[in-house]
């Protein structure tokens, strides 16, 4: 924000700052809540508040370039005949064709496949481009059931039953009419151009006991071959994870409030859910209390940006992570080379979040064929693969520094927290002390 014009004697209200007043004016003008994409933009306790304790005398480090540090993960070992084995713990989160262009979905599949990891469909079904380019594809099973059919279910490598997502726990999907093209409408059995507001609850089951039966149905239809994930938005994470495990999940996916979305109300994004940092220990505690930690795998997502974030998630007890926003940035989302065009649509590179309008100059969150062709799926896939490789190498670097020969061997004991609040959430000691808020000395 440019403050150059401000005089020293002018004082801006911290409560009614300029973005707040702009939103009041916007609401008064339009009579509709603000809808946008991306994830929470407010500052939240996050992984930056944690530090690793590299090895020295009391721990032996591993040689950074010579000694092995395994990054592979097996997901779905509880019941599935064919668990998914991925070479890196970094997976691609569910994002729909409709929200994203077909080229973007293809690029995600190409990038994920190049590094031996999985990608995930979204609300709207499975496209041939995505299935064709994804060696390991997780098929989302959402309340809308748009495009859901048993043939695609059997083509999937895993099923993810979506109960919620971190950007909007308790809310359904949203895809506005600008992006409901003929193809998107056809896949979702909707009239072209409607502002599609998906259901927030599944249509044919309610509660964990019903979900148990639903999971059994999906297993029956797929002959118990493939893993079944349950994805939840992080809120009452301890209890939700317990119920997911009780219902029969092979894998639980916990999405924190920094997780992205293609479109929802701003008030939802910024005011519902809990930060990823706070959610992971709750999820791990639930699994441990049930004796299911590492038996039911935990994938976490929401604001993961670099290898340090990956390593910190693993150290807190996750088996793998999922990236969404970061993957789109790797493809070119918010790229400064389109800054002039971002400005023409009232935004700027680095700030663009109106994914729902379908005008993305980078050609990612759009169904406009002219814009969509700007993203070359082969080049996008290459960039995504490179980015995931970097995340993996960075996480390995940190794990080796902590003396771990497997990313999964990282543990909370390897970390300290910079702030009291992050110490309390992550349940690791405040740096320089042995104090974990909420626990006795």
């Amino acid at each position: 924000m440019n403050n150059n014009h401000l005089q020293d004697n002018l004082r801006e209200s911290a409560t009614f700052d300029r973005p707040t007043m702009a939103e009041i004016r916007r609401a008064a003008e339009t009579g509709i809540y603000d809808i946008r994409g991306f994830g929470a933009k407010r500052k939240l306790p996050h992984f930056d508040d944690l530090l690793f304790l590299g090895a020295s005398m009391s721990r032996y480090p591993l040689e950074g370039y010579r000694e092995a540090c395994d990054t592979s993960v097996t997901l779905g070992t509880r019941f599935a005949k064919k668990p998914i084995v991925i070479d890196t713990p970094v997976t691609i989160a569910g994002m729909s064709f409709g929200a994203l262009s077909a080229n973007a979905k293809e690029a995600l599949g190409r990038g994920a496949s190049a590094v031996g990891t999985s990608t995930t469909t979204g609300d709207g079904g499975m496209t041939p481009e995505e299935r064709g380019q994804s060696d390991k594809l997780v098929y989302q099973y959402l309340p809308s059931r748009y495009g859901m059919n048993p043939d695609d279910l059997r083509k999937a490598d895993a099923i993810e039953i979506v109960l919620g997502q971190g950007a909007k726990p308790g809310g359904g999907g949203m895809l506005l009419g600008q992006k409901i093209t003929d193809r998107v409408a056809g896949m979702r059995t909707l009239p072209k151009g409607v502002d599609q507001r998906s259901a927030c609850r599944h249509p044919d089951w309610t509660g964990p006991d019903d979900l148990t039966i639903k999971i059994q149905e999906l297993r029956e239809i797929t002959d118990w071959q493939i893993p079944i994930y349950i994805k939840i938005g992080a809120t009452r994470t301890y209890y939700d994870v317990k119920l997911a495990v009780k219902a029969g999940a092979d894998v639980v996916v916990v999405d924190g409030m920094q997780g992205g979305t293609a479109a929802t109300q701003e008030v939802f994004i910024e005011h519902v859910g809990i930060p990823t940092l706070a959610a992971i220990p709750q999820a791990v505690q639930a699994l441990q209390d049930m004796g299911m930690h590492r038996k039911v795998q935990l994938i976490v997502s929401g604001g993961i940006r670099n290898g340090a974030d990956v390593a910190k998630c693993m150290a807190l007890g996750a088996d793998a992570v999922a990236i969404g926003t970061a993957a789109l940035v790797a493809l070119g989302c918010n790229d400064p080379k389109y800054d002039d065009e971002f400005k023409q649509i009232g935004s700027a590179a680095g700030f663009y979040d109106d994914y729902h309008e379908g005008k993305d100059p980078a050609g990612i969150s759009t169904q406009d064929p002219q814009l969509a062709q700007r993203l070359n799926p082969v080049d996008g896939g290459r960039k995504l693969a490179n980015y995931i490789r970097v995340l993996t190498l960075e996480a390995q670097t940190l794990a080796r520094a902590c003396g771990k020969s497997n990313l999964n061997n990282l543990e909370p004991e390897d970390m300290v927290a910079l702030t009291v609040e992050s110490a309390a959430m992550a349940k690791v000691p405040l740096v320089g002390t042995n104090w974990i808020p909420g626990q006795a000395f």
């Binding site: 048993p150 249509p203 044919d204 059994q216 002959d223």
Partner: protein, 225 residues
Amino acid sequence: MQSINLAEHSVRQLNQLLHDQYHHFDQPQWQVSATSGQHNIACGLNQKLEVNIDGHVGYFCAGMNQLAHVTVHGNAGQGVAENMMSGTVHVKGDASSAAGATAHGGLLIIDGNTGARCGISMKGCDIVVKGNVGHMSCFMAQAGTLVVCGDAGEALGDSLYETVIYVKGKVQSLGADCVEKPLTKKHLMQLKKLLKSADTEEDPSQFKRYGSARQLYNFKVDNAY
């Protein structure tokens, strides 16, 4: 005819045998007995099988059905024929809630009544209920047809898209954006055909047609909620 007694075999064994017919189609007719209300019976079928089920079934019977003709000689639990793609599912008794939920194709016939949310989010199937349907039936239904020969509960067709609803009896209330529409000749023909396919003698002219007013399709800047 293959006979499977579910007191002696598990639902898993039954379903696997039925699924195996996709690759080795040599047994078109199946008889299932001793169901004891078990869940997920005959779900995920994808072959032109004729499956007769003697007794009551639990949740999701004939879920995601493709091609098969499944008859339940009893009552059905929640979500019968959910997400059906094609074929026919016929429940001789009553069905619980969410019958035919999200179904894309095929024909679901309920001889008795259904619970709440019959045809919720349906995407192209046809449903004929010879009795009554519960509240919130056809909630967010997108395509296909629901025929109710009896009465409909509260909030019929709430947030409806393009599904067409015919009701002969009383409608307790219509949901948001669901309105009565004229019963044209074209619709009478459609209804007549559906009633015939469900083997009923009902007079199509006695029905009323309901559909979407299409007022919720897009946000209105000064009136969005």
